[in-house]
Amino acid sequence: MATAKVRRVIPGTPLFDGDAARKGYALNKMCYSFNSADNRAEFTRDEAAYCRKYGLDPQQLAAVEKRNVLDLIAAGGNAYYLAKFAGIFGLDMQDIGAQQTGMSKEAFKARLIEAGK
């Protein structure tokens, strides 16, 4: 099903294209629903039931369960929608960055500051 145009490969840099959009539709649709506080609460109350409602596939279910951002991306997740998922757990962009790079949050934040020097 790789129908999207082949793009330049940039190491460590996912491009959310047609293939990812097809693969990740259910996951991203669930994350989009988290714009609503009621939906966030419903997810928190019964996570399994909420994921079932959106028809997540096994790879997406496992990634959600692990709260693992790289796995969520591999399962078709888009950064902008995943940010809404992360918000449920009170994770900010430095938590997300630290998790994906295998750094501590403090080290990740220090690297950002270093980039400004």
Binding site: I10, T13, P14, A21, A79, Y80, K84, G97, Q100, L112
Partner: protein
């Protein structure tokens, strides 16, 4: 005819909303960012534009993957903000300018931009926070009417920098042909270099950002030499939001028509290199 009085380009991140809601503008982390806006606020208070055309990218508040327009233009009487998933307090609704919306739509489609038009449109932090940064004391009554122009940076293929430059030029020409005495400011929000996703998360490219900012003064079409993928390699997956800057700057006209009045650049706000520039159109 209407007149473009100038343009402002700035970064946007949700954390700015949290900082505003928490009154953190003068804390050490945020001060270098917020203080950069004072000269722009002063300029706006002097110039008093009537309308703002705001070129921004939606992050999954108004548009989902079920319908993903490349270019969307608002044509609503007003634009509301809403919860984007983090429960940050929302800002008051923004008045639209439907006359300019439909004039833009007519002119842009005539120039072969195949738009999506929106008579209902929620605007997210990329629209609302720059407005609050520019008019921090507006309260419930924004001093300008607005027309949102949204460019897709969510799902590839994205429009090229060259295409966004042309869109900006067409917006500038459309405003200049609008039968109105309105004074219009063009705002572009996004970037600069940052990357939220992947093992390269946290990527920032200061030297490219500074070169890009310089190019908007001396050679506004400079970034159009790069493909979208090249720009992402240089600026990060979300650094591509610099397309909004390219379009907004193109709307103002050529090098001779514009003078730069102010610029600020600070790393980091959240994971982002924050840029700000103010351009004034010469009479």
């Amino acid at each position: 005819m209407a007149k473009i009085v100038g343009g402002i380009v700035t970064s946007h991140v949700p954390a700015i909303g949290r900082a505003i809601a928490g009154g953190l503008q003068q804390e050490a982390y945020w001060k270098p960012f917020f203080d950069g806006f004072a000269p722009v606020q002063q300029w706006l208070a002097e110039v008093k534009p009537d309308v703002a055309v705001v070129i921004y990218n939606d992050h999954g508040l108004n548009f989902f993957l079920d319908k993903m327009p490349t270019f969307a233009v608002g044509a609503a009487p007003q634009y509301s903000n809403a919860d984007e998933g983090w429960g940050i307090p929302t800002l008051p609704a923004f008045p639209g300018d439907q006359d300019l919306s439909w004039h833009l739509i007519e002119e842009l489609v005539a120039k072969e931009f195949d738009l999506t038009t929106c008579q209902e449109m929620l605007v997210d932090h990329a629209f609302t926070l720059p407005m609050k940064l520019l008019w921090p004391n507006a309260g419930e009554a924004w001093p300008v009417r607005t027309v949102p122009v949204c460019i897709n940076t969510v799902q590839h293929p994205l429009p090229s920098a060259r295409r966004c430059f042309k869109l900006g030029q067409a917006i500038g020409e459309a405003v200049a042909s609008w039968d109105s005495d309105a004074r219009v400011v063009v705002i572009g929000t996004g970037g600069l270099s940052h990357q939220l996703d992947g093992e390269r998360a946290g990527f920032i490219n200061k030297s490219f950002d500074l070169e890009f900012m310089d190019s908007l003064v001396n050679d506004p079409a400079w970034a159009t030499r790069y493909s979208v993928e090249e720009l992402i390699e240089l600026t990060g997956t979300q650094g591509i939001e610099l397309l909004m800057w390219v379009a907004a700057r193109a709307a103002l006209g050529g090098v001779d028509q514009v003078r730069k009045l102010h610029a600020n650049y600070h790393i980091p706000i959240s994971n982002t290199a924050a840029g700000l520039m103010l351009f004034e159109n010469k009479d």
